[in-house]
Amino acid sequence: MPHVLIVEDEPSIVTPLKFLMEQEGCSVQIVSDGAAVMPAIAAQRPDLILLDVMLPSRNGYDLCHAIRERPEGNDIAIIMLTVKGREVDIEKGYAMGADAYITKPFAVADVVATARRYLPDA
């Protein structure tokens, strides 16, 4: 079963994301604080991370970069989900190593389609 890590501090956004990922047949772990991300990855390597940018403790760009620095980091797919929709923000996201960048508010279909692209076939 593919494992998905949802990094998001807004419970009301976590709710639909979790539902969607579970529908896709993934196991889901939720982290709402930037500082808890790296330990969570170390505990169980996810296949996909849905990463918010504006987080307590540590922002998404920073986390993204940190994950890519790790030896196993290149095998993890990272989709950034954020309200930061300016072009510079998107550029930055890709530069930090994001695989996809989706701005909020998003269409559910977009998220599902992008996730499917990076998830290993169940």
């Binding site: 807004e10 009301s12 956004i13 709710t15 639909p16 504006m54």
Partner: protein
């Protein structure tokens, strides 16, 4: 007491005085001036206190109680204004090198020789009797100790045995020695001033010594002395004042008169203005001098009372200062008092004579001599000697006049009455002087008319009747008027008999003098020179230094100017002065032909030696004044005025432009800031809007697409949508709130007891606190805490802080403490929780719009606007909203607002009126 002893003591004292003056001059020559010192300066001003003060005040007090005081209260009051008034006169005189009060008046009104001359005559006529009074005091005090309690009428004594004559001669010698040692461009006499200051110390010490002896030696302190006096009804009457209109008028008129006298007496002008080396000395002198006056008057009434108790009546009250210690057998003290009286009299005579001789020479004799073409004075070499000679003769003449006046008058009037006559004479300078420094429109004609009319009336109403008193005129002159014309009675002009003689004179002279000055000034056009001088005088503080030359001054060969200066100042002084000019203007050598500025400089130097009017006349004989016709002068003036107006306009325009640029820059800066803030605002608002929108959109899409949702799932999704919709609503409301606060800067402020506001807020949150089991600790002051605040807004702030505290109360035993304290002029309302606290790096950010401290765990229901709004409200009140927190140990938010002044503690009415 033996005559020999007295003579010995007097001679010793005068010799000491010579030594002091000599020492002062020596120090000045070696550049270590004693005079450049505010204390010496203030002491020299005490030349105001003459024998009149030393002897006469006691005599006057013995008959009229405290009525001797206006003469000292007036100077005290006017000295309060010296920093403005006298400093201006001192500044003008320094710029114009004024040598006397007559010179000042002449210089102000277009360097008028006629006016200066008239002023000199007025000063001499007014002051000579005053000098006579001092001579009389010296001889009376001498007589009182050698042949006590006899009438010492000077008239009865053969001239060669008259102490007054010898006193006059010794004083003439002293004055000649130290008043006319050299001809200086500054006309300062340092040795003389030091001697005068020394005399001031002596007379004060002597008077205080007698006072202390009487009070504590003869009696058991002031209270005891006054109580002894109170047993005698005639003495007790001296302790209070009459409540009659006559006494009222006398007091006020004399206060006013002495204000003018201390400003315009020639000797006061000499020490205050001419001898002033640094105008900053006035700052201290303006209160030290009144302090001196206070001290020297402290024991006047006690000595008078003691004198009356010991001698029974007031016949010899003028000599009580000597007689009381004398009759008690206190020889040393009596001698000291005698010396004190001597110093009071001599200091006045010396300074007054110096001032008068300068005036007579500069403003009377030299201008006259210059007008005699046969003498060709301006062409003669070595004029210093001539001028000093004139002054020395003038000194002797003035003193002899004083002596003759004394003999001619006999012993009729008291010390005080003659002093007051002199005061009234110099008060005639007031309109021309005060108008001269504050009113540019005053003209020569006005000043001349006023002065002449004032002096004429003065002469007719004060000194003339004295002649009748002395038997030179029939007594009916006073009682029925000349030739029986009642309206011309000298003590009751036009039948005005309500006032006493001095106030009567003062009223009529001030009316005529001031009136004619104003009317005459307005009726005539000032000449070019008058206009120029008027602006130099009135606007003296607007110019940094002496102004440049007037454009019509003309030019002259430098050789001629040098020769002229050498003639009047001597070789060395002249060359030094020209050297100074060269250094100041950074010139290698003086030009062959002097420009207007140099000519003006030379004229000012000459003015310092021989007065403004004479200097101008002398310059006229040498400097080839431009042959200007009045038309040309007016052209120059017009041109200058146009230029000045033009440049003023340019200045003005430039200033306006600069101000506008500055404003634009500010506005631009502000716009940029606002723009930036707006960007940030929009981006944060959109961010905050996007979060709930994202949730709502995602969930509703899911619900739309997914058909097989479980009922719990549906319910949970619907709850989230509702919550996020509420959040959106709240957000929109707060944005609107914030906008409203931005748009309405006016708070609805009223005087409110801050404790009420706290109570209000607390009662609103109490249910919530109880629900969360939060312990609430409230500490309020017992006394009302009045503050001018907007009650609703402040409640809103507190509610915000309280609900934040509740929101972050995650501790097992949640506690919130609310405390109101007062420090000086501010109240501090603090709300402290024991929640997770806020990291240091976020403590600023939480007050920014939409920034919530993300680390504060707990239900994040806030929009992030609450604290931003709260802080803005507090700022509007002129207060601050701050936070202190140690992560893990809770956070304390503190609102500080200015307290309302405690004297207006709000009554219940105020509170009721608060909406």
């Amino acid at each position: 007491m033996s005559t020999t002893l007295l003579l010995l003591v007097a001679t010793a004292y005068v010799s000491l005085l010579f030594a002091v003056a000599y020492y002062g001059d020596e120090r000045a020559e070696h550049g270590r001036s004693l005079v450049n010192n505010p204390y010496i300066y203030a002491l020299s001003l005490a030349v105001y206190c003459t024998a009149w003060t030393f002897y006469g005040s006691v005599g006057y007090a013995a008959t009229t109680g405290i009525n001797f005081l206006p003469i000292y209260i007036g100077p005290t009051l006017i000295a309060i204004l010296w920093w403005g008034l006298m400093r201006k006169i001192v500044r003008i005189s320094a710029h114009q090198r004024i040598t006397s009060i007559a010179d000042f008046i002449g210089a102000r009104y277009g360097k008028s020789a006629v006016l200066a001359g008239v002023a000199t005559v007025v000063a001499v006529i007014g002051v000579v009797p005053y000098i006579a009074v001092q001579l009389k005091a010296i001889s009376t005090s001498f007589g009182a100790l050698t042949a006590p309690l006899q009438d010492t009428a000077a008239a009865g004594v053969p001239i060669w045995r008259d102490t007054a004559l010898y006193a006059a001669l010794v004083l003439a010698a002293f004055t000649i020695l130290f008043g006319t040692r050299h001809l200086d461009v500054t006309e300062r006499h340092e040795g003389l001033v030091v001697a005068i200051a020394f005399e001031s110390v002596v007379k004060l010490a002597a008077f205080l010594a007698v006072g202390l002896f009487v009070t504590f030696g003869l009696y058991d302190g002031l209270g005891d002395l006054f109580q002894h006096g109170a047993a005698v009804p005639s003495i007790e009457a001296l302790y209070t004042v009459e409540a009659s209109t006559g006494a009222f008028a006398d007091w006020m008129w004399l206060t006013g008169l002495s204000m003018l006298a201390v400003l315009f007496l020639p000797r006061q002008f000499q020490v205050t203005v001419v001898e002033n080396v640094n105008e900053d000395h006035l700052r201290k002198a303006a209160w030290l001098f009144p302090l001196y006056l206070l001290l020297i008057n402290l024991f006047v009434l006690p000595i008078a009372v003691a004198g009356l108790l010991h001698h029974g009546d007031a016949t010899h009250a003028d000599m009580f200062v000597l007689l009381v210690p004398f009759s008690e057998g206190q020889t040393a003290l009596t001698l000291f008092a005698f010396i004190g009286g001597l110093s009071a009299a001599t200091s006045m005579v010396i300074v007054a004579t110096t001032a008068l001789s300068t005036m007579i020479c500069n403003d009377l004799v030299v201008p006259l001599l210059l007008r005699i073409p046969q003498l060709n004075l301006a062409r003669r070499s070595r004029l210093t000697g001539v001028i000093l000679g004139i002054r020395r003769v003038a000194i002797v003449v003035v003193l002899l006049f004083g002596y003759l006046y004394l003999r001619g008058l006999g012993d009729a009037p008291s010390l005080v009455s003659i002093g007051l006559i002199s005061f009234a004479a110099v008060a005639q300078f007031a309109p021309a002087m005060l108008g001269g420094i504050f009113w540019k429109r005053g003209t020569r004609t006005g000043a001349l008319l006023g002065l002449v009319a004032g002096v004429a009336i003065w002469g007719y109403t004060l000194p003339l009747p004295l002649l009748a008193d002395s038997g030179w005129l029939p007594a009916s002159f006073i009682t029925e008027g000349p030739f029986g014309i009642g309206a011309l009675r000298p003590y009751a002009l036009l039948g005005m008999s309500e006032l006493n003689p001095v106030p009567h004179t003062l009223f009529w002279t001030m009316l005529a003098n001031g009136g004619l000055y104003v009317v005459g000034s307005l009726a005539t056009r000032p000449s070019v020179m008058e206009q120029s001088q008027a602006s130099r005088f009135v606007d003296v503080f607007r110019h940094a230094g002496p102004q440049g030359a007037a454009p019509w001054t003309g030019s002259a060969p430098v050789a001629d100017l040098r020769a002229l200066l050498r003639r009047f100042l001597g070789w060395r002084a002249a060359d030094r002065a020209l050297q100074r000019y060269r250094t100041r203007h950074d010139l290698k050598a003086l030009p062959e032909r002097a420009d207007e500025e140099l000519v003006d400089y030379v004229e000012t130097l000459l003015a310092g030696a021989i007065g403004a009017a004479s200097a101008q006349a002398v310059m006229g004989s040498v400097a080839q004044a431009k042959p200007l016709h009045i038309g040309e002068v007016m052209d120059i003036l017009d041109e200058t005025q146009q230029l000045m107006a033009y440049s003023r306009e340019l200045e003005h325009k430039k200033a306006e432009l600069e101000a506008a640029t500055e404003e634009l820059r500010d506005a631009n800066q502000k716009l940029k800031e606002i723009d930036h803030l707006k960007d940030e605002f929009v981006s944060t608002v959109s961010h905050e809007l996007r979060t709930p929108l994202t949730a709502i959109r995602a969930i509703s899409e899911i619900m739309h697409q997914t058909t097989d949702l479980s009922p719990e799932q549906q319910r949970s999704f619907a709850t989230t949508i509702m919550r996020e919709t509420e959040r959106l609503t709240r957000l929109v409301n707060q944005v609107l709130d914030l906008e409203r606060l931005d748009a309405t800067p006016v708070l609805d402020r009223a005087l409110v007891d801050l404790r009420d506001v706290v109570h209000n807020a607390l009662s609103a949150v109490r249910p919530q606190f109880e629900q969360q089991a939060i312990t609430l600790n409230v500490t309020l002051p017992d006394r009302p805490c009045p503050a001018r605040i907007d009650r609703d807004r402040m409640t809103q702030v507190l509610l915000n802080l309280l609900s934040n505290a509740a929101k972050y109360s995650t501790d097992a035993d949640p506690q919130v403490a609310v405390r109101v304290t007062r420090t000086n002029d501010t109240y501090a309302v603090s709300v402290a929780d024991n929640g997770p606290g806020i990291p240091a790096d976020q403590q600023d950010a939480i007050f920014e719009k939409f920034r919530q401290a993300r680390n504060r765990v707990g239900p994040q229901a806030g929009s992030g606007l609450g604290l931003a709004i709260a802080r803005q409200i507090v700022h509007r009140h002129g207060g601050t909203l701050t936070v202190k927190s140690t992560p893990g140990a809770g956070a304390t938010f503190t609102v500080q607002v200015p307290a309302h002044p405690p004297e207006s503690v709000p009554s219940s009415d105020h509170e009721a009126s608060v909406s």
